[in-house]
């Protein structure tokens, strides 16, 4: 039997929980809802006072992104968004591919061999997670100008190694270390060389971990803003740098910018669904599982 007092307390408790949940949900989700609404508004609706929730939706902003032009205006300075999107895909895939190719043997060595300098090397790699980008981008800018890497995909892929290589090595190492040593020893007794151990034991068993690493690495490249801001040009800007091109000295193209942020965010939201359980692990380089 419940006493009236506890029933009252229970009700208060439920109300507080419901309010807190609602607050958390609004705080998290409302910005996405509002930007989605803004991206479907005409310029007049965007500037309406007070802000309006009821309007005739239009796909003009998205059309302007795809075509790049809105009723013939701003054609000379229009951001070329389809190209930015393609650049993001090319550079992110290239950077992850290079990091995984170099990272698999390195992670294997760090996870399974004992040799002088191992821990130092692992630590140096980790410390790249905390480096201020500006200390690297200034000399890279000077070198890139000199050697023709400025405003090229290859240059960006190389610069992105600062983001993806340490991440890839640490993540793969943490996945490789989860494979029981006994399996590896058994394979060695069966006559497998180190290459056999890597190819027949480590890689197949850690395939899900490699997939997670690839997806998260791709997402970190997609998020990159500061390296391409300095090292890319109009032909090689990714979506992150492309999206701020809607702010010019004369005006801000709010609607198109909202559409651009949606387009830049959607691949991330879809990919993050695939790696939900590993996002915290990825963001902490494997420190928190």
């Amino acid at each position: 039997m419940k006493t009236p007092g506890t029933t009252y307390q229970m009700t208060v408790r439920h109300v507080v929980i419901a309010l807190a949940s609602a607050l958390l949900l609004v705080w998290t989700v409302f910005p996405f809802v509002w930007i989605l609404l803004t991206s479907l508004k005409s310029p007049t609706d965007i500037l309406s006072v007070p802000p309006t929730f009821t309007f005739t939706p239009t796909i003009d902003n998205y059309a302007a992104l795809v075509v790049g032009e809105q009723r013939g205006q701003y054609s000379s300075t229009r951001p070329d968004f389809p190209r930015f999107f393609l650049n993001s895909i090319i550079v992110s895939i290239g950077a992850v591919a290079l990091s995984v190719a170099a990272g698999i043997p390195a992670a294997y060595a760090l996870a399974r061999f004992k040799f002088p300098g191992r821990d130092t090397l692992a630590f140096v790699l980790l410390s790249f997670r905390f480096v201020p980008f500006i200390a690297f981008v200034i000399p890279l800018y000077i070198l890139y100008q000199r050697f023709g890497l400025y405003n090229t995909h290859a240059g960006l892929i190389l610069a992105y190694q600062l983001i993806t290589l340490p991440f890839t090595v640490w993540m793969l190492r943490s996945f490789f270390m989860e494979i029981p040593l006994e399996i590896q020893e058994a394979a060695k007794i069966d006559g497998c060389s180190w290459l056999g151990v890597l190819g027949r034991v480590i890689l197949p068993l850690s395939a899900p971990g490699i997939a997670v690493t690839v997806i998260l690495g791709f997402m970190f490249c997609w998020n990159a803003f500061n390296y391409p801001l300095m090292l890319a040009g109009r032909q090689t800007f990714p979506v992150t740098v492309g999206a701020i091109q809607f702010i010019s000295y004369e005006q801000v193209l709010w609607g198109q910018m909202a559409a651009a942020t949606i387009v830049a965010a959607v691949p991330q939201l879809l990919l993050s669904l695939m790696v939900q359980k590993y996002i915290v692990r990825g963001l902490t380089m494997g420190a928190v599982k």
Binding site: S21, T28, F32, I35, P50, F113, P132, N223, M257
Partner: protein, 299 residues
């Protein structure tokens, strides 16, 4: 001699180094420009005036001490980091404790909280830039008007700009802290709680004397990651205030960016970048010691 090398080869002494070679080459390709940058920081490198290039020893660093903007940028960098970390870890802890209390719809809220976390920070900034329009068309000012606040000139006033950057950074990173701490809470052993219950501890005493001490390694970890990222915050500031108004939101990274990519004084910009790097190294060293102590006390 050749036999010895062959023996080493057969035993696989070189194997790990061979496996590491590609990664180390790439890594060296990153460290080389940095070394070059350290050298530039000792020169008067000015991109537009190549013939003024001279080796000036530590002049760029000494000049910083007399540069009023540097002092303010250093203050803002440190102040912002302290406030952002306290705010985000405090709120993150509250959210983690809330979600840990088996509230209905926890899984859904947890999944939705990943959304701000994984979109590009610069996109986060642009989303809030739209919502923080300082006219009455801005949704945030409109919402606040119901509470009798505003309208606030978000990016145009000194205090407004600082608050804006804080709010935007918090929106993007609160889920990170909350999820780390929620993971920590879910990994805590149950015995200490039972012991405390037998001793008649109330919920506040439980939190103070059981949960927080056990959670401290995770809290330090969250503080470390957030502090390191806050010291270097760039994307959000660049996309919203670009350091303004009146340099109110100029941190060391923005300042180094302005020196090197707006005024092309690469030597000075690089010197500022190295000061920031040293600051990051110092703070990370302190936090690492704190982490060692926190994880030892738990074991």
């Amino acid at each position: 001699m050749t036999n010895r090398w062959r023996r080493h080869w057969r035993r696989g002494t070189f194997l790990p180094y061979l496996l590491l070679a590609p990664a180390v080459v790439l890594l060296a390709g990153m460290i080389y420009p940095f070394g070059l940058g350290v050298y530039y920081s000792l020169t008067s490198y000015w991109l537009q005036y190549p013939n003024r290039f001279r080796f000036v020893w530590f002049d760029n660093y000494v000049d910083l001490l007399e540069e009023p903007l540097f002092v303010r940028a250093l203050e803002f960098t440190l102040g912002f980091t302290v406030v952002a970390v306290v705010l985000q870890v405090g709120l993150g802890l509250a959210v983690a404790l809330f979600l840990h209390a088996r509230i209905p719809g926890r899984a859904a809220i947890r999944a939705l909280m990943l959304m701000p976390l994984m979109i590009p920070p610069v996109i986060t900034a642009l989303m809030w830039k739209i919502m923080m329009a300082s006219t009455n068309a801005g949704i945030l000012n409109y919402a606040l008007s119901f509470l009798g606040i505003g309208p606030i000139n978000w990016f145009g006033s000194t205090q407004g700009a600082i608050v804006s950057v804080l709010v935007i950074d918090t929106w993007g990173n609160l889920p990170f802290v909350a999820l780390i701490l929620l993971g920590g809470l879910q990994a805590l052993p149950t015995e200490p709680y039972e012991a405390a219950r037998v001793d008649g501890a109330g919920p506040i005493a439980m939190l103070r004397y059981v949960t927080l001490p056990l959670l401290s390694p995770f809290i330090v970890l969250a503080v470390t990651f957030r502090a390191m990222d806050s010291l270097r915050i760039f994307d959000v500031i660049y996309a919203t205030t670009t350091g303004g108004p009146n340099d109110a939101t100029t941190n060391l990274q923005i300042m180094a960016y302005q020196y090197s990519f707006q005024w092309y004084q690469m030597g000075k910009g690089m010197a500022q970048a190295i000061v920031l790097l040293l600051l990051v190294v110092m703070v990370s060293y302190l936090l690492m010691r704190l982490w060692n102590r926190a994880s030892e006390s738990v074991q």
